[in-house]
């Protein structure tokens, strides 16, 4: 039985090491549950959660997520948090419908639920969206129009025709161009890249062949601009074309450097992580969040509040960020 004693002994030692933080747990705890750990996007989000944790003395804020992107594992983590009895759960749902049951039970036990990118969730106290999708599409298109000087042929890319947000962005972009820039001619709209940089590259090459005088590209999936940028670089047309769209600074950096991609748009997961915790705190304290409220985070200074599908509210910011060659290095993800 010696080995058992050893095991019990090491367990005790381990417990004294780990019990330190656990003892101080007499405060509010907010746990942020992400889709998957170890991905750049959510590592950046963790920075926001950590920053909030450092700013607030009385609140213990942490982030957790499954090692694999699997809705089942995310649901299990939330169940365990409910059993643990945290004060609030902030979740970026992998698959909103798979979480409804466990979130309802969480609310049943008095835990506040805050979602991000999950405006279809019924069992949440609040959902946070970084921006209005139509406004985001218009914003990208405005940049593109300015670069194109308001005239010339341009086209749009979407991840797939089934991606709701992508279609909202390019539709808003097309509407903006049509209303304000009569010189801009939309050709071969909504090319599907299937979230694959190679497919975007092939499609962009086809378009460059079909329309040698094309001036503008508006991408939607984060890899669209990468594929388009590669095709344009190979064609040596970096200076004659404008490529605008959703993109991540680290991945798109090389193309921004060469000028193949001109400007990328995204929202900062660090801010999203921080603001989720701000909203959690306010809801825990019983504060009401009203239209035009200032959440104290850039892009969320005057939020739009609307009624969600359940009892909760949907909070919408204007939290887009756009970077070009000169400043993409400020965002390490």
């Amino acid at each position: 039985m010696k080995s058992v004693k050893k095991l019990a002994g090491s367990a005790l030692v381990l417990s004294t090491i780990l019990a330190g933080p656990a003892l101080a747990a007499d405060e509010q705890t907010i746990t942020t549950v992400v889709k998957v750990t170890g991905e750049n996007w959510f590592i950046r989000m963790n920075e926001g959660v950590d920053a909030f944790n450092a700013d607030k003395e009385a609140i213990d804020a942490t982030q957790i997520g499954p090692a694999q992107a699997d809705a089942a594992q995310q649901a299990r983590i939330i169940e365990d948090l409910v059993a643990k009895g945290v004060s609030a759960i902030a979740v970026v749902p992998m698959d909103p419908s798979a979480l409804e049951g466990v979130l309802r039970r969480a609310q049943g036990r008095g835990i506040k639920v805050i979602a991000h990118e999950g405006d279809s969730i019924v069992n949440a106290d609040a959902d946070i969206e970084a921006f209005d999708n139509a406004a985001f599409g218009t914003k990208i298109n405005e940049g593109l129009a300015e670069c194109m000087g308001g005239e010339g042929k341009w086209t749009t890319f979407v991840g797939s025709l089934g991606s709701l947000t992508h279609n909202q962005w390019v539709d808003a972009g097309a509407a903006n161009a049509e209303a304000k820039y009569p010189g801009m001619e939309l050709v071969a709209a909504k090319n599907e890249s299937f979230n694959d940089a190679n497919k975007a590259y092939e499609k962009a090459k086809e378009i460059l062949r079909a329309y040698p005088d094309i001036k503008g590209f508006q991408g939607s999936s984060a890899i669209d601009v990468i594929g388009i940028g590669r095709a344009i670089e190979e064609a040596g047309r970096s200076d004659q074309t404008c490529v605008f769209g959703l993109g991540l600074p680290k991945d798109t950096g090389p193309y921004l450097e060469t000028g193949a991609v001109d400007r990328i748009y995204f929202w900062d997961p660090k801010d999203a992580g921080y603001v989720m915790n701000v909203v959690s705190e306010k809801i825990l304290n019983g504060e009401e969040i009203t239209d035009g409220a200032d959440l104290g985070v850039q892009g969320y200074n005057s939020v739009k509040v609307s009624q969600g599908p359940g009892k909760g509210i949907i909070i919408q910011g204007q939290a887009w960020v756009d970077v070009g060659k000169e400043n993409y290095g400020e965002y390490p993800f």
């Binding site: 080995s3 058992v4 367990a11 005790l12 809705a71 594992q73 983590i77 169940e79 643990k84 798979a98």
Partner: protein, 327 residues
């Protein structure tokens, strides 16, 4: 000195206790209050049922394994919901809906399992390749039926209760899991089928000369695996009230891990259901503990690996050298 099999059971039971006690020490009383015990119990069946399927496949020998389990579980839920939705309106008679849902799901599981069995027994494919193929097939059909998106069942009280409600302190789905496990343990130990299966797994040639109908045995075994997977599918549907093709995509390997942790011989011919059950609960408690402590889920995978190696070693190393002799 205990016989090897019993020693393993004791060792696994001990691990359960140690993890639970460690959890209580580290995470506080919350960890062993009735609510968390119920939550943990309710989380076991999905994986436990799949692990039982893998166990049966492994026992049958010839490199037996079932990789298609979770895919078939999801497909059962999806097909069943699509069919039953057309027949019964859940709002009118939720109880009838739930029973029909479970019935159709299990029928789908039976067909899927039968397909596995036939491909392995009659087409002579290695189980690894055959079930990899059917896994892709089941997944493909599920995606085709749903266009890749989740189907929400809506709030159906009897199903929700089955997935989450404790009766006499034990969640219903856990009770079902224990009953199913007991049934399989009984079949393996006390019925001619079980004895023949062990024989077949340990020495296929001898079993053949002994007059054991190998093909029929294989078909029946994989059919049972399919049924187990579909029961897991019902549990998944009832706990999430939605079905989707890629739910639990990480379960394939975890189910195999549980079976091996439970001492099932991957080369066939040996496996104890009780040990598999204890391995499933040990993994569950450990994984819940890590979530309680906010430890990275990557570390959990590491801990599972260490546990697996420790158990494999414990089967090889003779501890009696260090134990005081008890004649």
């Amino acid at each position: 000195m205990l016989p090897r099999a019993d020693r393993q059971t004791v060792f696994l039971a001990l691990i359960n206790v140690i993890v639970l006690v460690t959890g209580a020490l580290l995470a506080g009383a919350n960890f062993i209050d009735s609510y968390n015990l119920q939550i943990m119990a309710a989380q076991v069946p999905e994986l436990g049922l799949l692990a039982l399927g893998v166990t049966l496949a492994m026992i049958s020998g010839n490199g037996g394994i079932d990789l298609s389990g979770i895919a078939l579980a999801n497909l059962s839920g999806i097909v069943s919901f699509l069919v039953v939705r057309a027949l019964v309106v859940p709002g009118d008679d939720p109880l009838l809906f739930s029973w029909t849902f479970a019935g159709v799901a299990i029928a789908v599981g039976l067909v899927g399992g039968l397909l596995n069995g036939i491909v392995i027994a009659f087409a002579g494919l290695t189980p690894l390749i055959a079930t990899l193929g059917t896994q892709l097939l089941f997944t493909g059909v599920a995606v085709w039926l749903t266009n890749g998106s989740a189907l929400s069942l809506g709030y159906i009280p009897p199903l929700d209760s089955f997935g989450n409600l404790p009766v006499l302190g034990v969640p219903l789905c856990f009770t079902l899991f224990v009953v199913v496990a007991a049934l399989i343990a009984y079949v393996l130990r006390y019925t001619p089928f079980g004895v023949k299966l062990m024989l077949l797994g340990s020495n296929a040639k001898a079993a053949h000369y002994g007059g054991i109908p190998a093909r029929r045995m294989i078909v029946i075994t994989y059919t049972i695996c399919g049924i187990l997977a579909s029961i897991a599918g019902v549990v998944i549907a009832s706990r999430n009230l939605s079905v989707k093709w890629d739910y639990g995509s990480s379960y394939v390997l975890i189910a195999i891990l549980i079976a091996v942790l439970g001492g099932v011989k991957p080369e066939g011919g040996y496996g104890k259901v009780l040990c598999v059950l204890l391995a499933a609960t040990a993994l569950q408690i450990l994984s819940s503990l890590f979530n309680f402590l906010g430890i990275s889920n990557f570390f959990r995978d590491l801990a599972w690996g260490v546990l697996l190696l420790a158990l494999l070693a414990s089967a090889r190393v003779n501890f009696s050298i260090w134990l005081p002799s008890r004649q």
